[in-house]
Amino acid sequence: MHQSLIDLWYGFGVALQPSNFMWSVFGVLIGNLIGVLPGMGALTTISMLLPLTYVIAPVPAILMLAGIFYGSQYGGAIGAILLNLPSHPPHAVTCLDGYPMTKAGRGGAALGITMMASFFAASVGIIVMIFLSPLLVEIAFKFGPSEICSIMLLGLLAGATMSRGSPLKGVAMTIFGLLCGVVGTDVISGTMRYTFELPDLADGVELGALCMGLFGIADFLVSVNRTTVKASDAKVSMKDMRPTRAELKQAFWPMVRGTMVGTLFGAMPGTGPTITTFIAYALERKIAKDPSRFGKGAIEGVAAPEASAHSKTQVDFIPTLSLGIPGDAVMALILGALIIKGIQPGPQLITEHPDIFWGLVASFWIGNVLLVILNVPMIGVWVRMLQVPYKFLYPAALFFICVGVYSTKNSLFDVGEVAVFGIIGAIFLSLDFPVSPIVLGFVLGPMLEENFRRAMLLSRGDLTVFLTRPISAWFIGACTLLILAQVVAYVRKLRFTPKLREPAELIAE
């Protein structure tokens, strides 16, 4: 514990180095700015700025990406509360009570509470991260190829089944992602796989192109001429953002409970932030004295989900950095960026690259303080940003995507890949398939294959090795439980019609 504090002190030293600090501020600012824009979530922002990380050093690159991530979460809440427009799925729940508050003239207070809840939750998440990661690393050092395989399987399964929408469709998309990861030269035998005689595909599919196609172009294709533009009549100034004493009192415990939900779920690999916010909201509604207030502007319904999203965001970094298993698509992207920079995530990361790990932890705090400082005076600017019409927004974003992907490898072929993945993504989206598991599969795919083949080589083709090694058996057991839970849930759904309506259904209306 004492060691952790010393390391944290060192981390602050790293994070406050001028060049690192500058990129961190840049990431937070851009993340917040783009997060506010309708239709732009953390994924789009990170994939658009991913190419920039190729030219800067690893530490500032990761600090910047992380800054974009939580910056865009702050920004997303603004759109959700003021415009009823969730630019990022986790904020969908915030709309339920945040927008009625705006209509009742308390939108400023909702934003103020959101910021407080986010800051509180992020701080708790960071503290958990500081003390839990070294412990996890000790266990992780005992991992061999078979353990890595089983935990990756667990992460993939959890990511596929616990995200939004149908679990089966999530699994299908994970498999599709794994297949995208197969494309290119096989590292062991040198065989060209699924390259269709195209030499440009020999190195595999470009991560940036895949993401921007799936989250950028596909989203434009689905939303063009179909988003109803709402003009926000909300005028929020700094003064409005101070909640009343009664509101603060009302929001305090929901904030703490939301933080706990987020921390708990963040530690589980594969659970996305959306499901976390839904659970936090459902919990508040269940224990409230008067559940009918929810959906009409209950401040608890804003504080709890926002807090859970932010603590989850921070805690999510634990499995990503210490085990190399990303919790969701955003984490998969950050993991991908680390790998591109030649840094292998995993238990050895904290000891081999303490500057990245502890610098990142310290920069979280600095970034969150910055966000609070930034957001309060700039709220007027953000509100005006919300009014940028979609018809100007998407062509500009499309151009940035093209230039960004081109600059990665100076390859126009990669830009073409963006178009292809845009079409693929749009088809899947219109058939109600979730696309983010694709990224998870794509990033983990090559690692999974390599470790699986190695494990099989070591055990001479004996599949039972996954069950005879104790740690691996635990993970396989968890996978089995996960599948069983899904089957049970499915059977129950067939038998009974749900009595209490889920938040998801309320949103669908």
């Binding site: 709309c95 297949l179 109600d432 398939f433 083949r453 599949l463 998801a504």
Partner: protein
């Protein structure tokens, strides 16, 4: 929400997965599969292709269950009414293609202008003049930030 019972989105999705899985499987068998002990390049793809077909079947079967829809749309996403949006689709994809083609045969600035201009036309409310202005503004931005600022490796103008 009423949707034709005969063939829903889930059925199309299942068919798509079956076709994809079958294609992957067929190509994968062409690579060396090997045994569990010594896996060839084709082993994992074959397994994945088979799994994908399996999931496709499962989705197709469960989709038939009455009163259960696998959708979970968000506000502003998924619940769109209306027919195909050919103009938007063509213009957005056209914008990307324009960037690729003009980037190769015209240079950075023509590619920038074309990609923004073409994709902007996809919105029903945008005008030729407005799109051109937006494209012009981004050309200037691109010149300053990407060419001079970040020295992007793509000549401003080039032939052939």
């Amino acid at each position: 929400m009423l949707r034709p019972k005969s063939l829903g989105k889930d059925h199309y999705g299942a068919l798509l997965l079956l076709a994809l899985g079958a294609g992957v499987l067929a190509l994968g068998l062409g690579y060396r599969t090997g045994s569990l002990n010594h896996m060839g390049a084709g082993f994992i793809p074959v397994v994945l292709g088979a799994l994908m077909m399996l999931v496709g079947v499962a989705i197709g079967v469960t989709a038939a269950a009455p009163g259960r829809e696998m959708t979970n749309p968000l506000p502003g996403h998924g619940t769109h009414a209306g027919g195909p949006e050919w103009r938007g689709w063509l213009c957005i994809l056209g914008g990307v293609v324009a960037f690729v083609v003009l980037g190769r045969y015209g240079g950075l600035l023509p590619a920038t202008f074309a990609s923004v201009f073409v994709s902007a036309l996809g919105d029903r409310n945008s005008t030729v003049k407005g799109s051109a202005l937006l494209a012009g503004a981004l050309v200037v931005f691109c010149l300053i930030v990407f060419h001079y600022g970040l020295s992007l490796q793509l000549p401003l103008f080039q032939w052939g």
